[in-house]
Amino acid sequence: MRVGDKIRFDFSKKQLSSMNEKIAVLQEQISSGTKILRPSDDPVIYARNVEMTSEKDINTQYKRNLDRLNVFAGTYETVFSSVKDLLNTAKQLAVTQGSDQMDAASRETAAVQIEGIIENLVTLGNTKVGNAYAFGGKRSNAAAFVLDDTDYSVTFQGTDDVQEVYVDGNTKEKLGISGKSAFYDGDTASVFGALKELRDALKNNDGDSIRTAIGSIDKALDLTANNVAYIGTYSSTITTLTTQNATKGDLLTTTMSDMVGADMIQLVTEFNMLSNAYDATISCLSRIMKMSILNYLG
């Protein structure tokens, strides 16, 4: 086959241009650390990476949701610990004042102390986490408990059910517990009710009623103990979910890295090979140019 001069140069030019293009892509891959730069590099992997990146972002959001649940759990632990302490103080007072040796003045003083405990408990029941009242249930924007300081009765103003948040795809977890389940045992008995019962008995200087109130306080302590146990389970669930979340996040990161991450050794090797081929092509072109009759003419 005849080989014209134009074809020799055009061929070399195309080869050099093609190699330049490949070198540019390799440079981009090396500098970005990823082997998939655009959808056409590998449409399926690229699309999968888009999905997994989104999944990872959502997983990070679930982690933030779990962190918030954790804050609630920590708050509840502190609150219930304080509630328990206050109830124990109240019980001690009740036991002391339940003695027939106590007089009206002493019981009146104790009643004032119980009123203080009730006030403290209301304050604890109205604990806020950020903008939200922790015991308000779904009505988290207003105080959960309202104290009537004329008779020291306490009214719950929240809702029985609580808000939920997503902690994983299609899985929701309760955002805390309602004041109803934390401070009430059924519709009538409550922590506040027990303390009011004691406060009224002390005010009335009624020894029998004071002793009866001790039973109510015991029930309140049992309720609190149950709450502490519940929060323990709740915290444990959150910890498990957080661990699962972290595992999932790590798995996604690893999978994505395997899918689109650049193998530097391979890329640098390819780069060197192409670089050598480029030099060889230029050298070849230079030698072809010397193979001309023009070089032998005087």
Binding site: V3, P43, T159
Partner: protein, 473 residues
């Protein structure tokens, strides 16, 4: 036979070798000219003279200048160029669309995810104003991503449309040039170097034209070329040419391709064009890019509709039993068309973030309670709300990415295949028509020596004359 005959032979030989050197020089100077076919002077003996009983030769003369070319190969190259022209348009524009849809540039899925994550954030603290700020900000980012993709695709579509007009102007220039060359070839003497150059140029124009539109071409008995569209509309016939023009499509506002008859009336031939860059541009403009614009529009429409359906059922932080307009506020501006172009947060949401609803109920005091609305909107991320309830939002956006990836890869592969095939054919053509400087230099020396030898004939003839003149002196 006389000494004068020797002088005549010498004169013709000088002239012939000079012509050969000229053609060789022409070849050398056109070594890099695209479409040039090397030429060669064809020599033949002069008719001999009968002297006595013998025929004596009368030297040499030029019988013509031929160009080396393979007519059928040139036709195949033109045909292949139609495919290449179309594939190059696909390659170029799919790459542009890919860039407009590339997640790394647009952050579309990332911003959509952030938007729905922001609703989750609100669900954990439904009273929070800062969480509402997060929703508004991520909503704006998502809107910008969608707008940017839409505008990018629309810009490409408009560019495609404008390029159709420019390609048609180019086609008109080429057909006029072919008609002009037809006249010159017809008027010129065939076999001359000049006519060969016109033939080269015409072949090159036909190749260029075939890259833009699918054509049929053939030569008449006088070597004039006729060019028709593949559906038979005349573009060139001898020295006459017919122009193409653009017509505005009333429905889309885009250009249609028209064939201009001798009275100047345009006939729509858009659908008759089935190859070349014009076909590629029309296909991309009306087909592929439109599909992607429709997909992005659908994405925006579903997001607007689904979010608004839930949001309008919620109670805002501005809930007031006495004010009926305080609730039922759409999160996105309610629109009925051009969703991707016009998607935006509603004015009420933009002016007061408290108009973002998170709750589906109110308490006795009239304050919103719960986080159902925020939860339900965030849950849209995992719901199959696309493709007839079979795909989630991310499935949908990733499938768009997958599709443009596949199309771009396919277009690159096809264009590469066409380029390689074309290169192989060009190589074949060059093996016949291409100039080899080594060959031409060898020829140059050959003709130079012949020229020098012919010059010696003058000296010999002169010496013969001198001898005779000396004898009679």
């Amino acid at each position: 036979m006389s000494i004068t005959s020797i002088l005549n032979i010498a004169k013709n030989a000088l002239s012939v070798n000079q012509a050969s050197v000229q053609v060789t020089s022409h070849n050398i100077s056109n070594v890099n000219t695209e479409g040039y076919a090397r030429q060669e002077v064809i020599l033949e003996e002069e008719a001999p003279s009968l002297i006595g009983t013998a025929f004596l030769g009368n030297g040499v003369r030029v019988s013509g200048v031929i160009r080396y070319y393979d007519k059928y190969l040139d036709q195949q190259i033109s045909k292949k160029n139609t495919e290449l022209g179309e594939q190059q348009v696909y390659k170029k524009y799919f790459k542009r669309i890919e860039s407009a849809l590339n997640e790394d540039n647009t952050k579309l899925t990332e911003n959509i995810t952030s938007f729905f994550n922001a609703w989750q954030e609100l669900s954990t603290d439904p009273q929070s104003v800062s969480a509402r700020e997060g929703i508004a900000a991520s909503g704006q980012n998502m809107k910008r991503s969608i707008n940017s993709i839409y505008n990018g695709l629309k810009d490409i579509q408009i560019e495609l449309n404008n390029n159709i007009k420019m390609e048609i102007a180019d086609i008109n220039r080429i057909v006029a040039s072919i008609a002009d060359l037809n006249n010159r070839i017809f008027e010129g003497s065939s076999g001359s170097s000049e006519a060969n150059d016109y033939l080269d140029k015409r072949t090159q124009y036909v190749k260029e034209l075939s890259g833009k539109i699918d054509i049929i071409s053939f030569e008449d008995q006088y070597g004039r070329m006729s060019v028709l569209t593949s559906k038979g509309k005349a573009l060139v016939d001898g020295g006459n040419s017919w122009e193409l023009g653009v017509m505005n499509d009333d429905e889309t506002g885009f250009y249609k391709v028209g064939w201009k008859d001798s009275s100047g009336n345009l006939t729509d031939i858009t659908d008759d064009i089935s190859g070349g860059s014009i076909h590629g541009l029309v296909e991309m403009r009306d087909g592929q890019i439109n599909d992607f614009i429709t997909d992005i529009d659908k994405l925006a429409e579903v997001i607007i509709t689904e979010v608004n359906d839930i949001h309008t059922a919620g109670y805002t932080l501005n809930h007031d039993p006495a004010d009926l307009n305080a609730d039922g506020i759409p999160f996105f501006e309610e629109i009925t068309e051009n969703y991707a172009k016009n998607i935006d947060l509603s004015e009420k949401v933009k002016t007061d973030l408290k108009n973002i609803a998170a709750s589906s109920g109110v308490d006795a005091a009239g304050s919103p309670i719960g986080n159902d609305i925020a939860l339900n909107i965030s849950a849209l991320m995992d719901e199959n709300i696309f493709n007839g309830g079979t795909s989630t939002i991310v499935n949908y956006t990733s499938s768009i990415t997958n599709r443009i990836g596949q199309l771009t890869k396919g277009a690159n592969d096809f264009a590469q295949y066409s380029e390689d095939t074309m290169q192989a054919m060009e190589k074949q053509r060059e093996s016949v028509s291409g100039v080899s400087l080594d060959e031409e230099m060898a020829n140059l020396m050959k003709y130079q020596y012949a020229f020098q030898a012919s010059s010696r004939l003058f000296t010999v003839a002169d010496e013969l004359f001198q001898s005779i003149l000396e004898a009679v002196r």
